[in-house]
Homo-oligomer: 362 residues x 2
């Protein structure tokens, strides 16, 4: 029997649809393509909360002139190894790609490139930039601050964003390590999924609006917030909170961007986002030779560890996303919720662009 409510869209059409929406909202083609690359990559890697379905939010920023669809980021200060960039209020992926390119060029020369940016917008999945460096043979790291969602240990107010960290390191034969994680216990997307399924959340994911632990996803979504990685104080949630602050320092404080509670809620359009990012590229050949071979030894040894539960496999960060990516590459199509696609049809009509062309409903 066909699965209810799932629609397949060709990967190329997902990209094309995002491009025509973003161009329709007033952005330059190259900027729209850059954003589309990021969103399609998110969907291909299984990060469905950061893919096609977010198109409307970027459109909203452009239509409200709260983000710019043309122009170039500006290097404000630099040395052979670092740069401070003003994102010029362009779309986040345009700023991110520019900055990581700068970091890669510097790493090629001096072994490391370290770039912070302010004046940017939501840059999609952090993994897009660490992968950008990795695809050129570098060890890549990217981070960003974000709209408040996380309650510091003991506090009853959202203060930091989910402030993700991504690290990508190449191994031999195209194998790799790709960490792409929020410093909160979980993403808001996982909480939303629990709510949709009518399930309780595990203890340690989030708190209600008074800061009390809760397993009810509705209470988290109703002005509550996420626990930092580690959960409660007794299970070392203060470490996740410390990591979120580390990301804030490297992205927001160092660059002069907005930080902490000064960052607007992402869906609001009453002020520019002015979020901050940080990008690091490391030229592994500037250190001990044989990096990729040692990476392969490390991750293969880890994958082959005996598991607690028979039949399971020890995964390396990125394995699950890579498997999802390969599945999409093989089929050429990405699965979406049918209702979400219908909402995109409304968006297309508003923008006066062709609706998304679906392959079939399964």
């Amino acid at each position: 029997m066909a699965q209810q409510g799932i629609i397949l869209v060709a990967k190329e059409e997902v990209h094309s649809f995002i491009v025509r929406c973003i161009v329709g909202a007033g952005a330059e083609l190259s900027h729209a393509e850059c954003l589309a690359d990021n969103l399609v990559l998110a969907d291909c890697r299984g990060h469905t909360t950061h893919g096609l379905l977010r198109t409307a939010l970027y459109v909203k920023d452009l239509k409200h002139d709260i983000a710019k669809g043309s122009g170039v980021p500006i290097i404000l200060k630099e040395t052979p190894a670092i740069a401070l960039v003003d994102g010029n209020n362009l779309l986040g992926p345009v700023v991110g790609r520019f900055c990581m390119d700068v970091a890669i060029r510097k790493a090629q020369e001096t072994g490391i490139g370290f770039v912070t940016a302010r004046g940017s917008n939501h840059f999609g999945i952090a993994g897009a930039y660490s992968l950008q460096a990795m695809k050129k043979g570098f060890l890549g790291i990217s981070m960003t601050n974000a709209s408040p969602a996380l309650m510091p240990t003991r506090a009853k107010k959202m203060f930091f964003g989910t402030n993700p960290i991504s690290v990508a390191a190449p191994a031999v034969n195209g194998d790799n390590f790709v960490l792409d994680m929020a410093t909160s216990a979980v993403s808001l997307g996982k909480v939303q999924v629990c709510k949709l399924k009518g399930e309780d959340m595990p203890d340690g994911w989030g708190v209600d609006k008074t800061g009390q632990d809760t397993t009810d996803p509705s209470e988290v979504l109703d002005d509550g917030g996420l626990h930092p990685l580690g959960g409660r104080e007794i299970t070392s949630g203060y470490k996740g909170y410390g990591l979120a602050m580390m990301v804030e320092i490297l992205c927001g404080i160092l660059s002069g961007a907005n930080y902490g509670p000064n960052i607007r809620h992402w869906t609001s359009t009453d002020q520019i986002a002015n979020v901050g990012h940080c990008f690091i590229a490391i030229n592994t050949s500037a250190f001990e030779s044989g990096f990729e071979e040692r990476m392969t030894d490390l991750i293969d040894t880890c994958r082959n560890l005996e598991t607690v539960e028979p039949g399971e496999t020890v995964l390396i960060p990125g394995d699950r996303a890579r498997a999802h990516y390969e599945k999409v590459e093989k089929s050429g199509a990405i699965e979406y919720n049918a209702e979400a696609i219908r909402q995109l049809d409304v968006l297309a009509k508003e923008l006066g662009v062709p609706m998304i062309c679906t392959m079939k409903q399964i």
Copy 2:
């Protein structure tokens, strides 16, 4: 009534005792002083598992000629921004201080200094090196790999060390942010404390030798292991595991040191440790001016957040350690367990050096 079993030792005498033990074990005076600085700092900041009481372990390495007490680290490769260092099998703090000095010099010139080291030994608290950079006005980061203690998500074998990360950032008037955390859920020291008190551990700290969750500290210490930060898979323990692997990559893989399960158990003396570290210094003035003022705004705003439980305070990473440090500075003395001091008397006799001079038993 006097507290049973607590002995006070003057801070200077703690330092002096460590120096005479390490010199007695064959190390150069400057190396012994460097190690003593690290161990005393740990005790002053309240990290008692990493202080004076570890002296015997460093002595053991020196006496077995498995670590060297004289010589200098060697810069194998460098650019204006990075360096690869061979620690020359010297005491970890000697290697660490050397490397962070190199990183600071490079950061002064190019905005960032990034140094990895191999051929090193246990370097004490990671915070010593991030603080070393911070005291000179830089943003400091340090990490190290370590003997296996952490079970990767789903695995039933210890694979990574507690692989700590420390980040120190200056604010105005001597205030600061100092994160110094293991990427495991907790340190082994906390598990040992639970066992001594005859208490169960919270769920999510560790597993028994079959990889099953346990709240019995004895089962963790008896060939069991620590959960990564985040605990079980359902509460995102795979993120802590990913962070531990990130540290392993930056310390062990990049430098060509031992890594993962290849690192000896710290108390064994059948092979050299060859652990790897990573040190980063960032010259904040190379980025947007006013870094320290923004840091103060960030951390003061955070400290002043309303708390869930009345009467509590939201802490910034490092606040607890700083309070402990100030208490020691004021009294001039550090508290130790009386039985642990008696063991140091045995060590002193073995080395033929004067026993530690205690102030009073309280």
